[in-house]
């Protein structure tokens, strides 16, 4: 009987185990050689990327039916997928653990890696509509993943329809008659970029900016804001309706990406993440979600 009880205890302990277990690092890979390897051909774009520190990123985008693109990115043990129906403005996006197909979460390290991939793609791919459709939708999906907040589900459907899903603000991206370069003191202000957060709602003036949209300068990778009549490099932190400009304010994607979509939701997202909140701040979740369809489906302004 004692042996039997001992057996019961042993089985129970084995079955319960420890909730901790040994730390696991699924997806850990040796660093790959640094840089982007890109192949663009009829109907498909694919390649690899490494920042020289983390494991290799593999990516592909191919047309699986006319106007429908299958995008896959593999990094850090995670698979990111998107099926984009460009004709109908619908995209099914997902992200999961490659080893077991279970749900996972976008982490800071993942965002950093995807952001670097996005920058590399922007540097190599032709800008705007000059890129093939496969390359363009790959770039847009990668941009979305590079900004994906940890608190938002990886599996989601992005649906875009102009006028309902997104509103174009192309005209505000021009100043002094030009899409890029100096405004020459002649601005075309958009009022207001808005967000809501712990400081207040959309109507709180500290959550609003008066913005010059477009590619009109940058300073050390940052934007400018007006302080006492002078343009200062950096970002205001919940000032009351400051004037801001630079690093492609209002453009879909982080900074100046390869596409030139200027939209209302992207402007509001920039108004949140460039106003004292981190790119993946939970306070900017709703702006990110609203801007997702803009990024995937809005046309380029030029």
């Amino acid at each position: 009987m004692r042996k039997m009880l001992g057996g019961v205890v042993a089985v129970v302990m084995f079955a319960c185990g420890s909730p901790s277990g040994a730390p696991s690092e699924p997806g850990a890979q040796p660093p790959a050689s640094e840089g982007l390897s890109l192949t663009v051909e009829q109907g498909a774009t694919r390649g690899t990327f490494s920042d020289g520190q983390s494991g290799e990123v593999k990516f592909s985008s191919r047309e699986v039916e006319p106007g429908v693109y299958r995008i896959e990115v593999s990094l850090n043990g995670m698979a990111l997928t998107s099926l984009v129906d460009a004709e109908n403005g619908v995209s099914a996006m997902d992200g999961f653990a490659e080893a077991n197909g279970q749900n996972t979460q976008m982490t800071d390290a993942d965002r950093e890696t995807v952001s670097q991939l996005y920058a590399a793609l922007n540097a190599e791919l032709p800008a705007g509509d000059a890129a093939t459709p496969e390359a363009k939708y790959l770039r847009r999906a990668v941009s979305l993943w590079s900004q994906h907040p940890s608190t938002v589900e990886m599996q989601r459907t992005v649906m875009g329809e102009q006028g309902r899903g997104y509103t174009m603000l192309c005209s505000y991206a021009k100043c002094n008659g030009v899409w890029s370069g100096s405004c020459g003191g002649s601005y075309n202000w958009y009022s207001y970029a808005k967000h809501d957060c712990q400081h207040g709602g959309f109507d709180y003036t500290g959550n609003q900016q008066i913005a010059q949209l477009g590619n009109h300068g940058t300073c050390s990778g940052d934007e400018y804001y007006m302080s006492n009549g002078t343009w200062v490099c950096g970002e205001p932190d919940h000032w009351s309706r400051p004037k801001v400009m630079g690093i492609c304010f209002g453009r879909c994607g982080g900074g100046c990406g390869g596409d030139t979509q200027y939209t209302l939701d992207a402007t509001n997202h920039d108004g949140c993440v460039r106003n004292g909140h981190a790119l993946a701040s939970a306070y900017c979740d709703d702006q990110f979600s609203s801007a997702s369809d803009d990024e995937m489906f809005a046309p380029n302004c030029y």
Partner: protein
């Protein structure tokens, strides 16, 4: 008959093994279930204690390192935004990290419940389950 006596012992072993397995299942959930329960308990404890704002209580429930900020900063932000836990929708072990649980929670800001649940990450640190905010 010979067949019966020969396999009688094996049948007894199978029955005992089945009984042990049933006992084990009853005695405790699977390791994954224990993690899920522990993570959900951490989330509930944190948000129950949040209104008082006492970092002596809240601090040990928060993950440290990485992008984590000091407890007081986190609590101040959550307070100023009127952040409340409404309910926990589900919890699952992160497919890439056996020492992290993703807790889907309905939350409210300033009394308004968000339509979409947010994903809260709870990590095993120093033997305890801690919320990463």
């Amino acid at each position: 008959m010979a067949r019966s006596s020969r396999y009688g012992g094996a049948a007894w072993v199978v029955r005992v093994a089945g009984l042990l397995l049933a006992l084990a299942t009853l005695a405790c959930g699977s390791p994954a279930e224990k993690k899920r329960e522990a993570a959900q308990a951490t989330v509930r404890r944190f948000f129950t204690a949040l209104p008082a704002g006492d970092c002596a209580v809240l601090g040990p429930l928060l993950a440290t390192g990485g992008s984590a900020r000091p407890c007081a900063t986190t609590v101040e932000e959550l307070h100023s935004h009127g952040f409340e836990l409404v309910d926990i929708v589900s919890a699952e072990v992160d497919g890439r990290d056996a020492n992290a649980v993703l807790v889907r929670a309905k939350v409210a800001r300033e009394g308004t419940v968000r339509d979409e649940p947010v994903i809260l990450r709870v990590e095993l640190q120093d033997g305890g389950w801690r919320l990463r905010l």
